[in-house]
């Protein structure tokens, strides 16, 4: 099998049976601090593989598109071939790790709302934090792609958090990676394991890679314990996360907009002399029954043309809240 990519703890191999699929092989290696600390733990690859299989399946069941196809062996999963978007999406519920070092926040401080951060996936520069505008200027991803990834990260945060909560575990933070399929849709990729999440028990004891980072105990035993707990949770008891998207419809420029014009006149009468132009449009807030997926975005495009806007005179844009 041809090696496509050799990561720090995983290998990506070409599936000999299909050019559209790859095999992801989990090794027993664990690294921290950008590879500065590195060790091998027998059985770690297998548990990361098992947990990824379990969680990708769980999230797919909740309507989130992932690259996962099936498990092949103890440490291999078959996945759709995707082009990885070079942005790591981090979601934080509680301050820990680099967030505390960056801002001096005390570890364990609960954030008022989940926080999404983007990091550039580039070892040579130590995966730096990157702003949305920089991502767009560097043409690494488009704004709508980032909105989409952010929305998926918040869905994953909800579904994973609720599952762990059933077992009195706390989802502190996690990192996701996304890939683009040949059809152009964005799916959740990489792995889902305690290598990429922080999970605490009710007494704020780490149940993740921090055990290794901080030399606090048996890593593989900890991973197995988290996995056992996860499997005891009931996915069917987690309610669907309802999401809303907004569709904004505006009259095309160059087409008169009488409602805007009369509004402008009324504003002038009230003394707002600096108003140069007003154009009135419409906003549709659409609540969805399930998380936003690429398929739903495609449906929205059709919805817009078929009903919500008249393409002859109006433009539309979709905003993910």
């Amino acid at each position: 099998m041809d090696l496509i990519h050799e990561g720090k703890v995983k290998r990506v191999l070409q599936d000999p049976d299909s050019s559209e699929r790859v095999i992801i092989e989990f090794t027993d290696l664990v690294t921290a601090g950008d590879g500065a600390k590195k060790e091998e733990f027998a059985g770690k690859g297998a548990v990361a593989c098992d947990m990824s299989e379990y969680l990708f399946g769980y999230l797919e069941g909740k309507g989130i598109d992932t690259h996962y196809v099936k498990k092949l062996s103890a440490n291999q999963i078959l996945c759709q071939k995707v082009t990885i978007i070079p942005i790591e999406v981090v979601c934080r519920n509680i301050a820990a790790g680099s967030f505390c070092r960056r801002y001096g926040t005390e570890k364990g401080t609960r954030l008022s709302e989940p926080l999404i951060e983007f990091f550039l996936k580039d070892d040579a520069y130590h995966d730096p934090l990157i702003t949305v505008d920089a991502i767009i200027r560097l043409e690494l991803a488009k704004r709508e792609d980032l909105d989409f990834m952010k929305s998926i990260a918040l869905s994953v945060n909800y579904y994973l958090g609720e599952l762990l909560k059933q077992r009195n575990l706390v989802l502190v933070d996690f990192k996701l990676e996304f890939g683009r399929t040949e059809k152009g849709t964005i799916v959740l990729a990489d792995e889902l394991s305690p290598d990429t999440f922080r999970i605490w028990d009710s007494s704020a004891t780490s149940m993740d890679k921090d055990v290794f980072r901080e030399d606090k105990g048996d890593l593989v035993a900890t991973y197995l314990k988290v996995f056992e707990e996860m499997k005891k949770a009931k996915p069917q008891d987690v309610e669907p996360r309802t999401e809303s998207i907004q569709v904004i419809v505006e009259t095309k420029s160059g087409i008169k907009n009488p409602p805007g014009e009369v509004t402008k006149k009324a504003l002038e009468r009230l003394g707002f002399a600096d108003v140069k132009d007003v154009r009135m449009g419409k906003v549709f807030t659409i609540a969805l029954k399930k998380p936003i997926t690429s398929e739903i975005l495609n449906q929205l495009a059709i919805m817009n043309v078929k009903l919500l806007s008249n393409p002859i005179s109006e433009n539309h844009k979709v905003r993910i809240e």
């Binding site: 008169k256 009488p258 014009e261 009903l307 919500l308 008249n310 002859i312 005179s313």
Partner: protein
């Protein structure tokens, strides 16, 4: 010769249309509520979509009605070459369906306009204007979204293919911008499809069919429509 007069929730000119058509020999107008779907049009030889405020004009005038199941039947009859007229909201529904090009935008004044206007009938003969070529007729309008707009390409096609039977004008038939009540491009008040069997018009021939109403000029349009039913 069954003429289906469609009624969507919010249509309110169906009785005007039924009464006007009942004066014409050979016409057999039948009220068809849109909820009847495709079955409602099984016997139809022609269709009138009257004015009103289908679905409260929410979203855009005519937009919600344009995706009802019964519109598939309208489309089929249009393809078969059967005569179809959309008046006012009916015109808006036909453009939203894509059976006629363009769109009816809010009036230039942003107000609802209800008044008598004059229309210049085109010189070329169409299914709906036979015997009226070049005449000036007097009919009322009553709409908030009658400002006809289409792309430059469509505008050229409409002109080249002689598909503009009615334009707003004054009593003398002058097509000046001053006699354009709503901002429509080229003073367009009504258009037909390429086949010539589907007419959409903002003014109301159904409110001008006897002298006591103020004008009987609209009757000729409806008579032509009935005569065209084969």
């Amino acid at each position: 010769m069954t003429i289906a007069v469609l009624r969507f929730p919010g249509t309110n000119n169906e009785n005007d249309v039924l009464r006007a058509l009942s004066l014409i020999d050979g016409a057999d107008p039948v009220l068809v509520p849109s909820r009847k779907g495709l079955a409602g049009l099984e016997e139809a030889d022609a269709i009138v979509i009257p004015g009103g405020f289908s679905y409260g004009d929410y979203l855009r005038a005519g937009a919600v009605a344009s995706v009802e199941t019964i519109t598939e039947g309208v489309r089929n009859l249009a393809e078969d070459g059967k005569p179809i007229i959309g008046i006012c909201n009916g015109f808006q529904i036909l453009t939203e369906m894509g059976l006629l090009p363009g769109v009816l935008l809010p009036n230039k004044s942003a107000r609802f306009i209800c008044k008598w206007i004059y229309l210049k009938v085109c010189d070329n003969t169409t299914m709906f204007t036979e015997g009226m070529e070049g005449r000036v007729i007097r009919v009322p309008i009553a709409h908030a979204e009658g400002n006809y707009y289409c792309s430059d390409d469509e505008r050229e096609s409409l002109k080249d293919e002689l598909r503009i039977p009615f334009k707003y004008c004054n009593e003398a038939g002058d097509l000046d911008d001053a006699f354009n009540p709503n901002g429509s491009i080229d003073n367009i008040a009504g258009i037909i499809n390429q086949k010539g069997n589907v007419l959409g018009m903002m003014p109301h021939p159904d409110r001008a069919y006897r002298p006591i109403l103020g004008s009987s000029d609209g009757l000729a349009i409806l008579e032509n429509f009935v005569r065209a039913i084969k």
